[in-house]
């Protein structure tokens, strides 16, 4: 089997598992208790907090542990908005956010907030001029996804943060896909709040964090305990926290080397597919994209059938077609970059990881054209195209 869905989740790194094991077995103390068994865990999670903070040039007391990206996004959006609602009720985001942000915005709209959804260009980039124009006197929060989970486009985060700060607006970024792939300095990039999730960088599932700049106010997300500076009650997920810190340490220690490897495989996939399969296009920016992301739309075919046939050959990938989302519409991200519905339905997302090999990419490139041809031979849309274009 070949796993090409690393944006969905990644395989736990063995070294991460090893770091977690003591906290799943003998070191089971509750960090809030006062005896030695517990206090050792308190020390371990505070060390993890420091280690995570240092990777992003943040301070330890600016890192809050959560259950993952979705919680971090929900918390940041809803509870920063709540904390600043006396100052204003306007929020700016983009049309290509993850649903954790988009649906939180929908909720805020139902609570009387106004939300501007910035459009993106054909490559998935927001327009900084449009961002400036959409700022109002009562704008309290800008939330823009760091790197898109579907098309991999990386936004000009530093510039967005600069604009936010020039207008005294808080800047949150959903960095779930970027963390582990992109070097992030919250000071230099003017980031006030940032969501991350461990299972996207070879850490465990069910653990994430919200970075929140010291002077930024936020309402508590979970009431009940004094954990996480009384902002997020609940006994800490100790093994998860330890695992996340370890996973981040590994990811950033090997960042450049890993990215060179992934970019090489990514570019091989993109160039080879665009050259050898007719009627397809790359989605997302050609260069301002995550090193592991390939997203290509194939005309005349539908994504789910493509995934099933790939699955039958042992390749696990994903698609933005409606049939894989459980709704009738294809991905909002693909529509936002201007793809017509029928072409958005035929999209394929391959997201590489450090455990993939050059050989796997080669065997995929051998199989893919045949699979595409097989589906096109079955497609009445392709018939129509041939009839109209070849006489």
């Amino acid at each position: 089997m070949v796993y090409f869905d690393n944006a969905a989740t990644t395989k736990l790194d063995k070294n991460v598992l090893e770091s977690m094991l003591p906290y799943l077995t003998d070191s089971y103390g509750n960090p809030s208790s006062i005896y030695k068994l517990a206090q050792e865990n308190r020390i371990a999670i505070e060390n993890a907090r420091s280690s995570i903070a240092s990777i992003f040039n943040a301070k330890p007391n600016e890192i809050y542990f959560t259950s993952g990206g979705t919680e971090s996004d929900n918390w940041a959006l809803k509870c920063i908005a709540q904390a600043y609602q006396k100052k204003g009720k306007h929020i700016i985001t983009s049309s290509i956010e993850h649903h954790a942000v988009l649906h939180s915005c929908k909720y805020l709209e139902s609570q009387g907030f106004r939300v501007t959804y910035l459009p993106v260009d054909k490559d998935g980039l927001i327009d900084l001029e449009k961002l400036k124009e959409s700022i109002c006197d009562d704008t309290i929060l800008i939330s823009i996804i760091f790197a898109n989970n579907e098309i991999g486009t990386i936004q000009p985060i530093e510039e967005i943060g600069k604009i936010a700060h020039e207008h005294n607006i808080i800047f949150h970024t959903d960095a779930v896909q970027a963390v582990g792939s992109v070097a992030i300095d919250v000071e230099k990039m003017n980031i006030d709040a940032m969501s991350l999730s461990a299972h996207k960088f070879y850490g465990p599932k069910g653990i994430g964090a919200l970075y929140l700049r010291k002077n930024v106010k936020i309402m508590p997300f979970m009431d009940g305990g004094a954990q996480e500076f009384s902002k997020r009650g609940g006994t800490e997920n100790v093994p998860g926290i330890i695992g996340m810190a370890k996973a981040l340490e590994i990811a950033y220690k090997n960042l450049d080397e890993n990215n060179i490897f992934l970019t090489k495989l990514r570019d091989k996939l993109i160039e080879n597919i665009l050259k050898n399969v007719p009627h397809c296009r790359l989605n997302g920016h050609r260069y301002k994209r995550l090193p592991n992301n390939v997203n290509i739309s194939f005309e005349f075919i539908e994504g789910e059938s493509l995934l099933l046939l790939l699955d039958s050959k042992g390749f696990f990938a994903s698609s933005g077609s409606a049939c894989t989302s459980g709704s009738l519409d294809p991905s909002h991200v693909l529509l936002a970059i201007g793809l017509p519905h029928e072409i958005a339905h035929g999209s394929l997302r391959i997201t590489l990881g450090k455990y993939n090999t050059s050989k796997e990419v080669d065997s995929f490139l051998t199989e893919l054209p045949e699979i595409i041809k097989r589906l096109r031979d079955m497609s009445p849309l392709y018939d129509e195209y041939l009839k109209n274009n070849l006489g």
């Binding site: 005349f300 459980g326 519905h341 079955m378 009445p380």
Partner: protein
Amino acid sequence: MINMAYSEKVMDHFMNPRNVGSLEDANGVGTVGNAKCGDIMKIYLKVKNNVIEDVKFKTFGCGAAIATSSIATELVKGKNIYDALKITNKAVMEALDGLPPVKIHCSCLAEEALHAAILDYAQKNMKADEFNKLKEKLKTKK
């Protein structure tokens, strides 16, 4: 994940679809669905003396769309058009050992494509009163 939700029958018809293709000498063709929604089915019939002698399909769509098209062609091959019209989306689903709830519309599409192809044949080849009777029959069934 998607795989798990489909029965073995569905996967069999998806992986090895029966009667894929088009018929040069078709005398009844039905196309339903639209590309925007991600499903188009086209069924070709060759009917002689009201009996479906040959049938082919082409489908743009998900696994279920391809599987329902395939089984629908199998169900009608050799049948006379009146019996073929009795085939409902439910029969299509049963023949596939069921479909996940979000895919039921694919079985409806297969029924519609089949009906459209038969009506196309009937309109072109039957006398007006016979064709109208057939249309009425379809209406009352629904």
